[in-house]
C-alpha cells in the first residue's frame, strides 16, 4: 500500500509540473503583453520598457516560468496586474464559492445516482427500470445552463422560494446556502444522470460474472447478490467516471457561475481574460487543473481501498 501511495504521489507531482508548464507557455502566446495593456495605447516606449523590466517581462521564458513556479511553491501566486492585490488572496476568496459549489454538486450527484442506478439494474427489463433509464437519458441531454434558467424561472421568478442569483457571502450561512441551492441542483442532476447510467451498466456487467453465479449457487437471492457482491465490484468503473466527471463539473461550474452571477473562480478567469490579467488567469487555471489532479489522486487511493489486487502493485 505504501508503494502504491508513493507512486501515485510522484505521478501527481509530475502531472502538476507538466500542467503548470503547459499553462504558462500557452498564456505566453496571448497577444499584447500585460505591461502595454496596463499603460494603454498612449504610453511612452521608455515607460513601457521600464514597466516591463519591473514586471520581469524582459527575461527569457524558462527563467520566468521558474520564477513563477518557484514562487507558487512558496505560496506566492503573484500580484494581479489590474487590481494590484495578491492573486493568492483573490483565489482564496473565490474558492469560498467555487469549492462548496463543486463539492455539494458532486455529493448530490452521487446521492441521486446511487439509488437510481441500483434501481435501474435491479428492475432491468421491467417498466420501472426502463423508466428510470429513460429519465437518465433526458438528464444527460439536458444543457445545465438551460436547466438552470428553467429552475430560476420556476423557483425564483414564479414561486419566489429561492434567489435568482448573486451571493451574499458566508457571513450569513443560511442565505449563502440558499443562494447555492439552485446552482448545485443545476450542476448536479445532469452529472447524476451520467453516473447512474454508468453504475447501472457496471452492475449489469458484473451480474454476468462467474462469481455472481457462485453466489447464487450458495443460495443468495438476486437482490442479495446485487448488494453483497455486484455493487462493490461495480464501484470500480464508477470511481473512474466519478474522477473524470470532476473535470466536467468544474467546466460546468464556470458556466453556472455565469448564469447565477456567482463570484466564483470561473467568473474570475473570464474577467481576467478580458482584462489581459495573465497572472490571474495562469494561477486560477492552475488551481482548477490542480483540483482535477487532486481528485484523480483521491480516486486512485479509493481504487486501492476497494480493490485488494492493487494494494500490492
Amino acid at each position: 500500500m505504501l508503494r502504491y501511495l508513493s507512486r501515485r504521489m510522484i505521478v501527481l507531482g509530475l502531472s502538476l509540473l507538466a500542467a503548470s508548464a503547459l499553462i504558462f507557455s500557452v498564456t505566453e502566446l496571448v497577444p499584447g503583453d500585460p505591461a502595454s495593456f496596463m499603460l494603454g495605447t498612449g504610453a511612452q516606449p521608455e515607460t513601457l520598457a521600464a514597466l516591463r523590466q519591473q514586471m520581469g517581462l524582459d527575461r527569457p521564458l524558462p527563467l520566468r516560468y521558474a520564477a513563477w513556479a518557484g514562487a507558487i511553491l512558496q505560496g506566492d501566486f503573484g500580484t494581479s496586474f489590474t487590481y494590484r492585490t495578491p492573486v493568492g488572496a483573490m483565489i482564496a476568496q473565490r474558492l469560498q464559492v467555487s469549492l462548496p459549489l463543486a463539492l455539494m454538486a458532486l455529493a448530490l450527484a452521487v446521492a441521486v445516482a446511487l439509488p437510481v442506478g441500483l434501481y435501474g439494474a435491479a428492475r432491468r427489463g421491467r417498466a420501472g427500470g426502463g423508466l428510470a433509464m429513460g429519465a437518465t437519458q433526458l438528464g444527460i441531454a439536458l444543457p445545465n445552463f438551460w436547466f438552470a434558467m428553467l429552475l430560476v424561472l420556476v423557483f425564483a421568478v414564479r414561486l419566489r422560494w429561492l434567489p435568482a442569483g448573486g451571493f451574499p457571502g458566508w457571513s450569513d450561512p443560511g442565505a449563502a446556502l440558499k443562494s447555492l441551492i439552485l446552482p448545485v441542483v443545476a450542476l448536479a442532476l445532469p452529472q447524476a444522470a451520467i453516473l447512474a447510467r454508468v453504475l447501472r451498466s457496471a452492475l449489469v456487467e458484473t451480474q454476468a460474472q462467474d462469481y455472481i453465479r457462485t453466489a447464487r449457487a450458495k443460495g443468495l437471492t438476486s437482490g442479495q447478490t446485487l448488494r453483497r457482491h455486484a455493487l462493490r465490484n461495480a464501484l470500480i468503473p464508477v470511481l473512474t467516471i466519478l474522477g473524470m466527471q470532476f473535470s466536467f463539473l468544474l467546466a460546468g461550474a464556470i458556466i453556472i457561475e455565469n448564469v447565477f452571477s456567482l463570484p466564483g473562480l470561473g467568473r474570475m478567469i473570464f474577467q481576467a481574460i478580458t482584462q489581459r490579467d495573465l497572472i490571474v488567469v495562469q494561477s486560477a487555471v492552475l488551481v482548477l487543473v490542480a483540483a482535477v489532479n487532486a481528485v484523480t489522486f483521491l480516486v486512485d487511493l479509493a481504487y486501492g481501498a476497494v480493490d485488494p489486487r492493487l494494494r500490492r502493485a
Binding site: D210, Y211, R216, P308
Partner: protein
C-alpha cells in the same frame, strides 16, 4: 436422495434437455459424461433452478418428495447452498475478487445457518481446513488473487460444502487445472463424498476422469442420456454406439510411420529468457536445449507456467532471447525485423483456441492467405487456398465464408490449412487439440499424421497433457520451471519416468483401467 425424472428443457424453441432421468444417492459418485453442447451443464443448472432466463423446464427434480421445479424462488434460495452445493469450471473467476476468502465461505453459513460473523468465520476456518487449506498458511483474510487456481477451487469447494449439503454438483471442476492439481482436487472430492455421505454429481468431458472416480456413469448426447449404469459395466459393455465412439476416441493414437532425416531442422541451444515482474525477475527459460529433426514430431509437456509457451514464442521469433541460440535450417532465429522473411516462412503455428485464432471480420480466403505476406502472394493464390482447404478436408467453396460459420473442429482444420499454405518445414502446435471434443480431436490427430507423412513436416507438439502427446510424438520433452528435465521416447517417458516431475505427471494422468478397455 435426489431423483431426476423425465427432466426436459426448452430454450428458444430448441430442446436442450430431453427426458433426463438420474438417481443421485448419498455417498455415491455419479459421472455425467458428454461432449460440449450435450446438455451436461444444463442438467446441473436445472437441478439448481438456475437455468438461463427464457428456459422452460418440465419433468421432475425430486428432493424430499418435493419437485424443485415447482418451488417458488425464495424457497429455492433456501435449498441452494444448504441442500445442494455447486462448483464450476473456472476457479480464476468463480470467486469475488474483492472479498476475503473467509467471508466468502462464511457467507452461506450466516445466510442459511443464521450464525453471527464470528461463529460463521470459525466454522469457515474448519471447512477450509477440511479442503486442504490449513490455518497458518491460509488465513481467512486472504483474497482470491493471492491463491493459485487449485487453491481457489478448494475455496469454492469449501463454500459449496459449508452447510454439508446432501448433493454436490461439480461442473468440469478440474478442466482448467494442471494434471497434478486435477488429481489432488479429484481426490479431495472423492474423500468428501465418501466420508460425509454426500452425493456427488461429477460433470466432465473426460472419460478417464470418470473411470477413476465414479460409481455410476451416465453418457449424454444431444440433451439425452443414451446410456447409464455402474461405471465398470458401462465401460466394459458399451451398449450404445456413442459410448463406443467416445471410448475409442479418448486414447486415440493415429497410425504413424516417422522417418526423421538428419541433420536436425531446429536446434535450440542454451536458450535463456528472463521476464521482469513487479515481484522481481522470473527466468522463464533456463538454458533450454533441444532439437527437432526433419520429419520428426517432438512433444513438449509441462504444467502451466513451466515456460513451454515462452519457448514456443522464442522459437517462432516473436520474443528475443537473452542468451543462447536458436537455429532453423542452419540460420539464426532472431526476434523482430532482423529475421529474414524467407526464414520466418519456414515455420508456422497452430494455436489452442479455435475461436480466437481468426480475425472474425475476414473471409476464409484472406485468413488463409495471410502467411503469403512472407513469400509474396502468388498469382494463383486462390487456387492454393482451395487446395489447402481440400487437403484439410474442407470444401474450396468455404473460401468465401466467414469464420463464425465454422465449428471448433473445422476452425482447427482451417488453422492447419493456414499454417500449411506456404509449405513450412516446421509447425508449432501450441495446445492445438486441447480445446477439442475427443472425437473431433481424434480426427484432427489423424489429419496431422497424414499431412506429416505427405509433406515431411516437423512438428513441435506442445501440450499440458501427456496422454495427447503420447499418440503424436516420436520424442517427448518434459519441462519444469524453465528447464527440460526429461527426454525420451513416449513409451519410456510414460512407462518408466525417471525425473520426479515426470513421475508426478504420469501418476496424475487419469486413465481408463487397462482391463476395462
Amino acid at each position: 436422495m435426489i431423483r431426476l425424472e423425465g427432466l426436459s428443457a426448452v430454450l428458444g424453441g430448441q430442446p436442450v434437455l430431453d427426458q433426463v432421468s438420474l438417481d443421485l444417492a448419498p455417498g455415491s459418485i455419479t459421472g455425467l459424461v458428454g461432449e460440449s453442447g450435450s446438455g451436461k451443464s444444463m442438467t446441473a443448472l436445472a437441478i439448481m433452478g438456475l437455468l438461463p432466463p427464457g428456459t422452460r423446464a418440465t419433468g421432475r427434480v425430486m428432493l424430499d418428495r418435493r419437485n424443485l421445479l415447482d418451488l417458488p424462488e425464495p424457497e429455492m434460495c433456501r435449498i441452494r447452498g444448504r441442500r445442494i452445493g455447486m462448483i464450476f469450471q473456472e476457479p480464476m473467476t468463480a470467486l469475488n475478487p474483492l472479498m476475503p476468502i473467509g467471508d466468502q465461505v462464511a457467507e452461506a453459513l450466516r445466510l442459511h445457518g443464521g450464525l453471527d460473523r464470528t461463529a460463521a468465520l470459525a466454522l469457515a476456518r474448519e471447512r477450509l481446513d477440511r479442503v486442504g487449506l490449513p490455518a497458518p498458511r491460509f488465513p481467512l483474510t486472504l483474497y482470491p488473487h493471492e491463491l493459485s487456481g487449485g487453491q481457489r477451487q478448494r475455496v469454492a469447494i469449501a463454500m459449496a460444502i459449508a452447510l454439508r449439503p446432501g448433493l454436490l454438483i461439480a461442473d468440469e471442476p478440474t478442466t482448467a487445472l494442471d494434471v497434478t492439481t486435477q488429481a489432488r482436487i479429484l481426490d479431495l472430492l472423492k474423500t468428501l463424498a465418501r466420508e460425509d455421505g454426500m452425493a456427488l454429481l461429477l460433470i466432465t468431458h473426460d472419460l478417464a476422469v470418470v473411470a477413476g472416480m465414479a460409481d455410476r456413469v451416465a453418457v449424454m448426447q444431444g440433451g439425452r442420456i443414451v446410456e447409464s449404469g455402474p461405471a465398470e459395466a458401462v465401460f466394459r459393455q458399451r451398449r450404445h454406439p456413442y459410448t463406443r465412439q467416445l471410448i475409442a476416441a479418448s486414447g486415440y493414437r493415429p497410425a504413424r510411420n516417422p522417418r526423421p532425416v538428419p541433420p536436425p531442422l531446429l536446434e535450440v541451444r542454451e536458450a535463456v529468457r528472463d521476464y521482469r515482474l513487479p515481484q522481481g525477475g522470473l527466468r522463464a527459460l533456463d538454458r533450454v536445449s533441444l532439437t527437432v529433426g526433419r520429419g520428426e514430431s517432438v512433444g513438449l509437456v509441462g504444467e502451466s507456467g513451466c515456460g513451454k509457451s515462452t519457448l514456443a514464442r522464442v522459437i517462432l521469433g516473436l520474443d528475443p532471447l537473452q542468451a543462447g541460440q536458436i537455429r532453423l535450417d542452419g540460420q539464426d532465429v532472431t526476434a523482430g525485423r532482423r529475421m529474414p522473411r524467407s526464414l520466418r516462412a519456414r515455420m508456422q503455428v497452430v494455436f489452442q483456441d479455435p475461436f480466437g485464432s481468426f480475425d472474425p471480420r475476414w473471409r476464409v480466403e484472406r485468413l488463409l492467405a495471410e502467411p503469403f505476406h512472407l513469400t509474396g502472394r502468388p498469382p494463383d493464390w486462390r487456387d492454393r487456398v482451395g487446395a489447402a482447404l481440400e487437403e484439410v478436408g474442407l470444401q474450396p467453396t468455404d473460401a468465401r465464408r466467414f469464420i463464425h460459420e465454422f465449428s471448433g473442429g473445422q476452425r482447427q482444420r482451417l488453422a492447419i490449412a493456414r499454417a500449411l499454405i506456404i509449405r513450412p518445414a516446421l509447425i508449432v502446435l501450441d495446445e492445438a487439440v486441447s480445446a477439442l471434443d475427443v472425437r473431433v480431436r481424434a480426427q484432427v490427430l489423424d489429419l496431422l499424421a497424414r499431412l506429416q507423412a505427405d509433406h515431411g513436416l516437423s512438428y513441435l507438439f506442445i501440450s499440458h497433457d501427456l496422454s495427447v502427446v503420447r499418440g503424436m510424438a516420436d520424442r517427448v520433452l518434459v519441462m519444469q520451471a524453465g528447464r527440460i528435465v526429461e527426454e525420451g521416447p513416449p513409451e519410456q517417458v510414460i512407462g518408466a519416468p525417471r525425473h520426479p516431475q515426470t513421475q508426478a505427471l504420469v501418476a496424475a494422468m487419469p486413465v481408463i483401467p487397462a482391463e476395462w478397455v
